[in-house]
């Protein structure tokens, strides 16, 4: 199926049960099962209730994974979202402490995320010659900078603030059965985002832009408008992430959300979404996110050095991006042998 450019048109899904099972996503499901077996094997405390209890902090990141997936499919990247989580969380805490009712604080949180995303989108689409990595590096510094200034001017100083009225957050942190509310929200957002990307023309347009921006433009796709929407969407999801992160921390500080952007990109890439654009789908990212979370929880319960956990996740990531090139090398050799 490789085109003239050598790129596979992977937006065309594999058909039939066999095709689905042997796909990258099928393999990810196997790895997820493997990780859970590993967890039960190495830790006596690795069980449903403990895993779900430890999960909310990580669940917050998964919201952003969906938005980041869209951006990566476009062939762009956004490294500002970790700082945006910090800014949204900070403004929420400070406004709540200044007397805003919880409902308003939630709206503010989501609005700050959306506005931050729109700023990214605005710069990225108005100045298309700029690499998005650099644009979002700039906004990353700006977002965190604003948060730090806010701490100084409106907070009690010290680069940290805790929410005085935690009733609303407690409500959000509640569980339905053993499942935290965030879990259901992730599933709902996930289903919507996955469906939009894989089943709608909007989703197809993203793949078109990611595969060949110029061709998509001449085919009548409103490239810049769609990019703007995707950046805004990711910003909004950063707001959602900040909100659910608050249910775990009840406060914000200058390091809130540090490194989230990279963890989220890692989930996407491990899930088979190529950073070069036009490849992969969100189901992979979704499963990959849970693989990383379950692995972290399992190894954490065994008290394995956190730095070693990072090394393991890094290795998994490199292997996962190597697999496609290894398999294509094998195919090429086979073809050579046949001729």
């Amino acid at each position: 199926m490789a085109g003239k450019s050598g790129r596979e048109i992977s937006a065309v899904p594999a058909s039939g049960i066999k095709g689905k099972l042997l796909s990258w996503e099928g393999a990810l499901i196997l790895i997820l099962i493997g990780v859970n077996i590993l967890g039960v094997a190495i830790s006596p405390n690795y069980n449903v209730s403990n895993v779900l209890r430890e999960m909310p902090r990580y669940l917050a990141e998964i919201f952003m994974m969906f938005g980041m997936g869209y951006i990566l499919v476009l062939g762009d990247i956004d490294i500002s979202v970790g700082a945006l989580v910090c800014l949204a969380g900070t403004i929420t805490v400070l406004s709540s402490n200044a007397g805003a009712p919880f409902g308003l604080a939630v709206v503010i949180c989501l609005a700050v995320g959306l506005l931050g995303g729109m700023l990214n989108g605005f710069i990225a689409t108005r100045f298309t010659e700029l690499p998005t990595m650099i644009v979002t590096l700039g906004t990353q510094i700006i977002f965190r900078g604003i948060a730090e200034v806010l701490f100084e001017t409106w907070g009690n100083g010290g680069g940290t603030a805790s929410m005085a009225d935690t009733k609303g957050l407690m409500l959000l942190a509640k569980k339905i059965g053993p499942f935290p509310i965030a879990f259901f929200c992730v599933i709902i957002v996930g289903v919507v985002m996955i469906t939009v990307l894989s089943k709608t023309t909007f989703g197809r347009k993203l793949y078109a832009i990611g595969s060949n921006k110029t061709a998509a433009y001449y085919a009548g796709v409103k490239v810049e408008k769609i990019r703007f929407i995707c950046y805004s969407l990711l910003g909004f999801l950063a707001g959602v992430c900040a909100l659910f992160l608050l249910t775990a921390t009840f406060g914000s500080n200058t390091t809130t959300g540090q490194g989230f952007e990279m963890e989220v990109i890692a989930m996407c890439v491990f899930g088979g979404i190529a950073t070069t654009g036009g490849k992969g789908n969100l189901i992979g990212g979704f499963i990959a996110a849970f693989i990383i979370v379950c692995l972290r929880i399992a190894l954490g319960q065994r008290n394995i050095n956190t730095q070693i956990i990072l090394v393991i996740i890094g290795l998994m990531l490199i292997i996962s991006v190597l697999v496609p090139s290894i398999s294509s090398a094998i195919t090429a050799r086979k073809k050579k042998a046949q001729t």
Binding site: A27, L38, T249, G251, G259
Partner: protein, 381 residues
């Protein structure tokens, strides 16, 4: 081809689990923790019971363990990995707990952030440890997770850096304001020979801890006639900037020719002043609070060195105090209330104090660094 992809993937999984195996041997302190876990702790966990049940069952062993330290697990969460101060603190903690016959779990978060500490503490709650001692990366952000730990029956204490007082039983403070004031005042008395001019080189004029220490010293001078012949000529502010601290030191030397001693209770100020005095071969002597690694070349008894001795906290003893406190909290000797007394091994007897609404145990006077021990400590921090 697809099958090959699959086999590569399965190999990946195997490699991952192998790595996990390696990891557990590398974390030497971790391994015994899980193995030595009491049977009752492991049993309910494996059944994958519903949330509420599991939570109560997890809490149970913590109560049962009241009898002795053996069989109990005591966790320490540091601020970050690769921090020599924290590493020494962990060494002390481990010594104290093992001395009492308990099992130690030491966890360094993956980054020096409260978020990373939350993950580590969550994991410790799952493991059903008996106590968690944490050096907080943030005063507020750990509130929720520490409350959760206490709800699960785990004793929570802090050391080095405190968190919100209602989310932990007690704070192991490296040094109290009064002890620092007393120690520094005594040093000034000793170095001046009991009389003459001396000056203070502080950080910024609004630094809370600096001002508290300086006030404690001033109060001592007023209340104790022993210090009546000492004359504090000026409190200079170097703003914790090396250049400004250097300028201020030079100004002090120029303005007060009879100056005998400078006391700098700030690590930046003392290092800057030490360099000025030593370079100018001044007869003025220096003391205060400083980092051994930065001050090693200035510490000495002869005239070639500007600082005969200085002070800071001892991280090993702080870790040991936290270790003994953990044991005392778990076996019920103390609850963390004001007035509780206990014995912290060879560190001696301690009483819990209440300072500004925060219950704390003060380690004791600051640790003295002089020519006899500076070479050993400069490698530490």
């Amino acid at each position: 081809m697809k099958k090959k992809v699959l086999s590569v993937l399965l190999a990946t999984t195997v490699v991952a689990s192998l790595l996990a195996g390696c990891g557990s041997t590398a974390a030497d302190t971790a391994a015994p923790a899980a193995e030595a876990a009491p049977a009752e702790e492991a049993a309910p966990a494996e059944e994958a019971a519903p949330a509420e049940e599991a939570a109560t069952e997890e809490a149970a062993p913590a109560d049962d363990a009241a009898a002795s330290a053996s069989g109990s697990t005591y966790a320490l969460v540091t601020k970050s990995a690769g921090n020599p101060f924290m590493d020494r603190m962990a060494t002390g903690f481990q010594e104290a707990v093992e001395d009492a016959g308990g099992t130690v779990v030491i966890q360094n978060p993956e980054a020096a952030t409260p978020d990373a500490q939350i993950s580590v503490i969550q994991s410790l709650i799952s493991q059903g440890v008996n106590s968690i001692a944490v050096a907080g990366n943030d005063a507020n952000a750990l509130t929720a997770v520490l409350t959760e730990a206490e709800d699960a029956g785990i004793k929570v204490l802090t050391l080095d850096s405190d968190v919100a007082p209602d989310t932990r039983a007690v704070f192991c403070n490296q040094a109290g304001v009064d002890q620092i004031g007393e120690t520094l005042m005594e040093a000034v008395y000793d170095l001046t020979g009991g009389e003459g001019d001396w000056a203070i080189l502080s950080a910024t004029s609004q630094a809370t801890n600096q001002n508290a220490w300086i006030d404690a010293m001033k109060k001592l001078m007023e209340s104790d006639s022993k210090y009546s012949k000492l004359n504090l000529v000026e409190v200079a502010y170097g703003d914790d900037e090396p250049q400004k601290s250097t300028d201020q030191t030079q100004a002090l030397l120029q303005n007060y020719p009879d100056l005998k001693v400078i006391c700098a209770p700030t690590t930046v100020g003392i290092a800057a002043a030490a360099k000025v005095l030593q370079d100018q071969k001044s007869t003025v002597k220096l003391t205060g609070l400083g980092l051994p690694s930065e001050m090693a070349e200035y510490i000495g008894d002869d005239d070639a060195h500007s600082c005969p001795y200085m002070f800071l906290w001892n991280p090993i003893d702080l870790g040991r105090l936290a270790g003994y406190t953990s044991v005392a909290l778990v076996d019920g000797t103390i609850t963390g209330a004001k007035g509780d007394k206990f014995t912290a091994g060879d560190l001696g007897d301690y009483t819990i104090e209440d300072i500004d609404g925060a219950t704390q145990i003060i380690l004791g006077p600051p640790f003295k660094f002089d020519p006899s021990n500076i070479d050993e400590w400069k490698e530490v921090y």
